[in-house]
Symmetry: C2
Subunit: 481 residues, 2 copies
């Protein structure tokens, strides 16, 4: 039997934070005189009550988490927050049914960005802000989880990014300080993004909402047409940059603050990330230009924005790239799986895993040529430990398997092939839109059956928690203790 | 510089065999009075001349192959045979252009079964037989390669199936004897298949052609409607069984001959293979039944045939499963990748690799739970060596990467999303048909642009030679010596 008290304690604290966050949209709705402020306040009270009760009933002397407790806590935290985050959706004037409300909330906290709400342009400001807040909180939660928890749990090669590694480098000595430093940088980047977007012509409200969901690579917008609503090249370029800023390892910003720019640009993960972005943008832009769909400046602008949006798993759209021809659709489908760097707000397979897989395959090919030779795969100029390589390769296999099973299950709920396959990809990689008429960049998840929506929620959670964290709960040995 | 003489010598011998095989369709065309017999005889002479010249100019004292020579020989053998095998297609009354002829020939020898010929029902018997012969020779070539060459080269975990392993078991002592034994079994199974299909009502000619392409899990038929032409439940069931017989490791048949049935049924690879077949057939049959598409007996018959045909990479069709709804299309798409057992005529990822990947991921999950514990993945009740696990996992990554790049490249040639993605899958897994209107089970590859066809040929070769064999040629170190 797993001792649950420390688990409940932490989740209680997280719910308390969530309750406080609910007060912000309440105040906005009060300011504009929208009746939904009552919904937010009631939801805040309920969440606060549950959260504080959990904290008070489990208050114990602080102790180290066991591995099992850490796994259970991580799973429960995201599920419970998604459930309470859904309250405003269900009881506001949108009156979403419970499944839709949970879907929207899960899509928010996992920074996926798939939406079932039609008519964002006429929605109350409180609910729009709540969507942005969920993604923004999800974003910082993910970074902290990636820096503090996943490396300790050795999830899918994340042990390469243990906080201890930074001790030697003396960037900042303690984990709490690192987490605090990252939070300050997150707030700072968001603030800068607000100013930039505002100066480019967005209203203050839209600037705040889009800054929060762009830095979190989340993708919720305040308009049905997403960022395409503004039809403003400056805004497109600015959000492209903000999404990239949200996709690099946040610990690197700590180095930048210390003036260590060189290490950042020498980081192979960032270099691979930017290389894949540049190559994909270039290919798509050239295709748009040569197929006479756009002039070169527009081709660059639209390809940059949409490639970055899909690859980083943000999911904003400025155009329906489903109409750009099969080559673009195919490349976008594959970019969905890639994601950004470890320790960022992005999801997907992530760049460092592709690097480890590539290095391992390359070493393997050299071994075939010289069976008697000894070849090590390298990452960032250091040999990759066997345990890390195995961990990453198992992650890749499980990622492909979960994607495949999710696609089959979605097919079973009646979705067509393209919707099922791209829906599985977009959920497990936390991207947002899928492909095709229904859930493509110009579509919406509202019309899917409830069973599909719940499966997509499972996919989002699996992807967000890097698969292992969820799958370990399926092992009987986990529960036997 | 790699010494090419032993490579040229072996390819010369293979071309000589191919030339002799070309005489058979020539004789059939003579028997029915079709003028194409001249084409086959001329092609046979050309091939024989080249083959014998190669043998005579490189005859040396027999010596061991170096690793580099073995890789080069394997690649060149399949390419050169596909080139010479294309001669009858180009110069017969079909008058295929060179790309189409090469595509059909490559699809034949790799036992893929994608076809660009429309009007098989009215084609001359010689050319129909030639297609069957290409697949049949390809099938035995693959088995011998999988037993004798790939394990020695340590390709993608195939080192687990080294011939030396059989020494200990004393099934048959020497590699040549094993190869000979397998060839006899291959001929015997083909003969039995001919008798069964003939007794079920096929003409003698059709029985021979279908027996050859079914045991090779190739999928070329003598009719545009494939096996659906016969509309005969007995034939459907018989070919289903033949395809399964072609998908199990042929070395196991040697044990059966020795009366060792128990080891065969205890072989975990065969059990996994049959389990995946049964589960997939069951799911598809239930879907067909519950969606009121078919009565239960028909649902079982059509789902058994088409699931086995796609999963084993045969590619025969008895119905257009593209019309069976999105669930079936999704499951068929995923089955394409799986394939059959190692050492059979099938392609794809193969069952033993899925077992190794699953066992490794499972051990990984246990390691996460007990970071201090020691967990080994097992295959067939033996611990999997690290080198094998890494090899298999690298294979899986390269398989996914090659599939993805091939799909993007096919998109670049203008194919729509479903055609590009399923085309890449069907080529790299040597299945045959893809999905969608164009290359689906009711479609044909004829209308694709030449660039797509050449890319698909590359995909077939990559998949057939288990990726590493081809990719190693891209490493500069391979050529530096």
């Amino acid at each position: 039997m797993i001792e649950l008290r420390p688990v409940v304690f932490v989740i209680g604290i997280l719910l308390t934070i969530l309750a406080v966050a609910m007060v912000i949209p309440a105040m906005v709705d009060i300011a504009v005189g929208h009746p939904d402020w009552q919904v937010f306040l009631v939801a805040a009270f309920v969440t606060l009550f549950v959260g504080v009760s959990m904290v008070l009933t489990t208050r114990t002397s602080l102790r180290r988490f066991t591995v099992r407790q850490a796994f259970l806590m991580t799973n429960l935290a995201w599920i419970v927050i998604a459930v309470f985050g859904a309250l405003p959706f269900q009881f506001s004037e949108l009156e979403l049914n419970p499944v839709d409300a949970f879907f929207e909330s899960m899509s928010g906290v996992t920074t996926t960005g798939s939406t079932i709400i039609v008519g964002l342009d006429f929605a109350a400001p409180g609910i729009l802000l709540w969507r942005a807040i969920l993604q923004w909180l999800g974003g910082i939660g993910i970074i902290v989880m990636a820096v503090a928890i996943l490396p300790m749990l050795q999830i899918g090669g994340m042990q390469m990014f243990r906080v201890e590694a930074f001790d030697a480098d003396k960037v900042l000595p303690r984990a709490a300080q690192i987490a605090g430093g990252i939070a300050i940088i997150y707030v700072f980047l968001t603030g800068m993004a607000v100013l930039v977007l505002w100066s480019l012509g967005m209203s203050g409200f839209d600037a705040v909402a889009h800054a929060m969901t762009a830095i979190a690579t989340g993708g919720f917008s305040t308009y049905d047409a997403s960022v395409g609503h503004f039809d403003n090249a400056g805004i497109d370029w600015a959000i492209s940059v903000i999404m990239v800023l949200g996709s690099v390892p946040f610990v690197l910003y700590l180095r930048v603050v210390r003036g260590d720019l060189q290490t950042v640009f020498a980081d192979t993960q960032v270099r691979w990330f930017l290389s894949i972005v540049f190559i994909s943008v270039g290919l798509v832009a050239l295709w748009l230009y040569y197929t006479d769909l756009m002039a070169l400046p527009d081709a660059l602008r639209y390809s940059t924005f949409n490639v970055i949006s899909v690859m980083t798993g943000s999911g904003f759209a400025t155009a329906d790239f489903g109409r750009w021809g099969s080559f673009v659709v195919t490349i976008m489908f594959l970019l969905m799986f890639i994601g950004g760097c470890a320790g960022s707000t992005t999801c997907g397979i992530k760049i460092f895993r592709l690097q480890v897989l590539y290095a391992t395959a390359e070493a393997q090919i050299h071994r075939l040529m010289q069976p008697s030779g000894v070849f090590f795969p390298y990452y960032n100029r250091k040999p990759i430990p066997d345990a890390v390589a195995t961990s990453v390769m198992s992650f890749f296999f499980l990622f492909a398997t979960c994607f495949a099973l999710l696609a089959v299950a979605l097919g079973l709920t009646g979705l067509d092939f393209v919707t099922a396959v791209s829906g599985a990809a977009t959920a497990i990689s936390n991207v947002g839109p899928g492909l095709g008429e229904i859930i493509g960049p110009a579509g919406n998840f509202a019309t899917l059956p409830d069973s599909s929506k719940l499966l997509l929620c499972l996919g989002m959670l699996l992807g967000r928690l890097e698969l292992f964290t969820v799958l370990i709960l399926l092992a009987p040995a986990f529960w036997r203790g």
